[in-house]
Symmetry: C2
Subunit: 495 residues, 2 copies
């Protein structure tokens, strides 16, 4: 076995943090640009199991905690959501100076250690690797953290009903957010989020959908100009798309048949709630159907069911990790998905004492209440509310052919909160013009939208899903900022 | 067999385009909102093969062309890139009025037809389904196109070396673009593009990368403020992200280890060339490595190779379709990917007569020339140029530890055009500060970027790929507007 520590140390740009003499092949600060590759085969923390007992391994990890006590220094070494205990002790393997060197390594620094894996008598409850510990023979600092951290990482994983709001606002700059992302909880949340996107796309691809890319800078505000961000565009002005809907529909008119897209959606709403962001990720679907828009509802609900199943079956570790800090009931769903008509929902609410008119929209508290009533009656956290009153939906919504007071539109709910709003779209230019006039919309402003339907358009329906809301509600979290890596709201633009 | 034409026609809102009496169960304009579902089992045009001969089938398609001649009307019915000939002829099956009705259906209208599939004696060269034709028994208009189209679709698929520039600019509104998307060529291009995204993500997911979502509205222009779009953000100003790089790097600092993202990237450059867009789709990668940034180059090049193989093996129909209109040589690549050092590239150029200094950047014509030289010498359309002069790269680029004139940075090329620019990033706050000062960058403006690296950062590298360029160059097209559904450039904001 070659011992290359000396050579590596020689290439270090920064002097060792401690000046005590440590054998250079045993410990030191290593250069951050490797001119040649040391022959270390790095193992992963999660692979440190009793099967590896008595092997000598190399590991790269962060110093999570460090506790020196006489001739010993206990480190907890962390890799994402996994960690292991490591011991540097004066003896055959380490000198007194090496223990001192190890004890002085700042928390969050990244180190390479060579160590023997040893089984332990008593489980180490505080680590993910409970059955083994590492007896360190060599230790090198790969990247040294500054001593004072804006946020103590142990604080960030404390169970906390209030979400992470208070904590992220403590420090300045981007470090607090960054540290928050390092927590085991965040690692799990965003791995699960990555899974939601993948399951969404894979399911739709299997169903014959084509992924499209839609522009975010647009020339006209699609729904009249409210709640839209303005962009300076060379010598003119443009807007940020509030939805990819027009573009999805154009693809349907261009015979793409079934399309989806995943991308940012911008809303200039001054809403400061637990569930609103000014920029979020939209999972959007649009689909031509043959004879009934329920063909589309079925495609969407089946896609959601495949997502729920995929998460349940493949992301149990992540779900459990999040639950440790933020306990919640497992997410329940039915197969096929429960579909209630709006009138049924209103009847359930009235039975529970709510007073509302047939064509009134649901308030947010009533949506939540209805979610609880549906859960009690049908034992599901996911359902579709179909056939909304025409009066409370946008002008492009297709009226119900059987009852002009209602419409071929629907919302979908998870744990009583809306995650998708969708509808059959009016695909006939004449009817669309009538509906726009009824809503007193300036026809000039939506001319190109209406014109899209003048040259033959198949009947179609679709909807848009908020990614951050799906993750929040699936995990039973209470703030959409917990499921957005870098949330944007009226008061937050950084990091 | 139930005959529901009458009932359906009864629900039509618009009177038949022709007033001649046609049996209502034989032909008519059908309502665009289906109150109940007719029991038609629709088949796909691509499935109309001799095996279906003599079967009576239902089909929904667009009227691509229509030619009436005495007692017959020949239609070509289109579904995406597939089409079939259909005949309506006076006889047992159709009345004179029905033929007249069919002859009057405007091109691009969407129809449902019931027809018998018949084998033909002579191949129908003009259609994708060459061995069969349809003998129509009933025909209903599902969506009627207006008579005058801004662009003749047959014109749009003519072989044309100039790209689609001239043609898209002809008409007004969004219809010309929309029609262009309907062409068989566009259908193929965008199906292939969807494939590129899927192959990119699937390959990286298999390699252990996590997909992340990065914000597009940012508070500060990352590279000093040039070429950045400004957004009005409530009472303040913000910018559109020119790259997700800072956010990818923050995820690496937060121990996500390997990340990728797919999303819009905004460049306020007033460049009006065949390869520049103001908004394009970035396929971005960032990855912590152990000891050498070539680990990252290998991950990226292998990902590209998997994309090329996936396209070659699973998108041959699409490639052939595009080649019919825009002929090009098949895309060639090596495995493993060719990696040349910058000095080698410069030597090749000098040998070909180019005069340039060691530390000069490559001009676009020289990149193209080098691409041709590499193709001649190595028979590949894809290669990496590694170790660019430090002076021509951004401040965050890691210098080469062996030679301070060069850097650990690279570009990747397809058919002599750059598709990716990447580098090992400086992950040490002190060195990053020095490099920024050397570039005379205001440290205050990049403080939070530098601070990201103060608390331990693993060595890492990455790069960003332009989706539209990859598709353009893979297919041997000559304008990036052909591989963007809704292109954005300094002069184009619509549709």
């Amino acid at each position: 076995k070659r011992r290359r520590g000396q050579e590596l140390l020689g290439r270090s740009r920064r002097p060792s943090a401690v000046s005590s003499p440590v054998a250079a092949d045993k410990a030191g600060n290593e250069m951050f640009m490797f001119a040649s590759e040391p022959d270390r085969k790095l193992v992963r923390v999660q692979d440190l199991t009793p099967e590896k007992a008595d092997q000598l391994i190399w590991l790269r990890a962060r110093v999570h905690t460090s506790r020196a006590k006489g001739k010993q220094c206990f480190l907890v070494l962390r890799q994402q959501q996994f960690n292991v205990q490591a011991l540097v002790a004066v003896g055959d393997r380490a000198s007194k100076q090496m223990v001192k060197f190890a004890a002085n390594i700042t928390k969050e620094s990244i180190v390479d250690v060579e160590a023997a894996v040893r089984k332990v008598e008593q489980k180490i409850e505080s680590c993910s690797q409970q059955d083994v510990e590492l007896h360190v023979e060599r230790i090198f600092v790969i990247s040294q953290a500054e001593a004072r951290l804006p946020l103590q990482l142990e604080d960030a994983v404390r169970p906390d009903g209030e979400g992470e709001e208070v904590r992220t606002e403590k420090g300045g700059g981007c470090r607090p957010r960054l540290q928050l992302l390092e927590t085991t909880t965040s690692q799990a949340v965003f791995r699960l989020q990555s899974g939601v996107c993948q399951l969404f796309r894979d399911t739709l691809t299997k169903k014959g959908f084509v992924e499209i890319q839609t522009p975010k800078i647009i020339s006209a505000a699609s729904e009249g100009g409210a709640n839209v961000f303005t962009v300076s565009y060379f010598k003119t002005s443009a807007y940020l798309a509030q939805s990819p809907q027009l573009y999805k529909q154009m693809c349907i008119c261009a015979d793409f048949d079934k399309v989806f897209c995943v991308g940012p959606v911008f809303r200039a709403e001054d809403s400061n709630t637990h569930r609103h962001l000014t920029e979020f990720v939209g999972l959007d679907i649009e689909m031509a159907f043959n004879y009934h828009y329920h063909e589309v509802i079925e495609s969407i609900t089946d896609t959601m069911v495949q997502i729920f199943k995929g998460l349940r079956d493949n992301f149990q570790t992540e779900i459990q990790t999040v639950n440790k800090q933020f306990p919640s009931e497992p997410f329940k769903f039915l197969e096929p998905t429960l579909r209630l008509e709006y009138t049924e929902g209103v009847a359930m609410l009235r039975e529970a004492g709510v007073e509302m008119g047939d064509e009134d929209d649901l308030s947010t508290p009533n949506e939540k209440l209805l979610g609880r009533l549906v859960k009690e009656k049908y034992d599901t956290d996911f359902y579709v509310l179909d056939k909304y009153p025409l009066a409370v939906r946008p002008f492009y919504t297709m009226p119900d052919p059987h009852n002009p007071k209602y419409s071929n539109s629907y919302d979908m709910f998870m744990r009583g909160e809306e995650i998708l709003s969708g509808a059959q779209r009016v695909h006939d230019a004449q009817l669309l013009t009538e509906r726009a006039q009824h809503h007193q919309i300036d026809l000039e402003k939506i001319k190109s939208y209406i014109d899209s339907f003048r040259y033959g358009a198949p009947p179609h329906a679709g909807g848009g899903i908020g990614l951050e809301r799906v993750c929040m509600l699936y995990l039973g979290l209470h703030n959409v900022r917990q499921t957005s890596m870098f949330p944007r709201d009226p008061k937050r633009l950084t990091p």
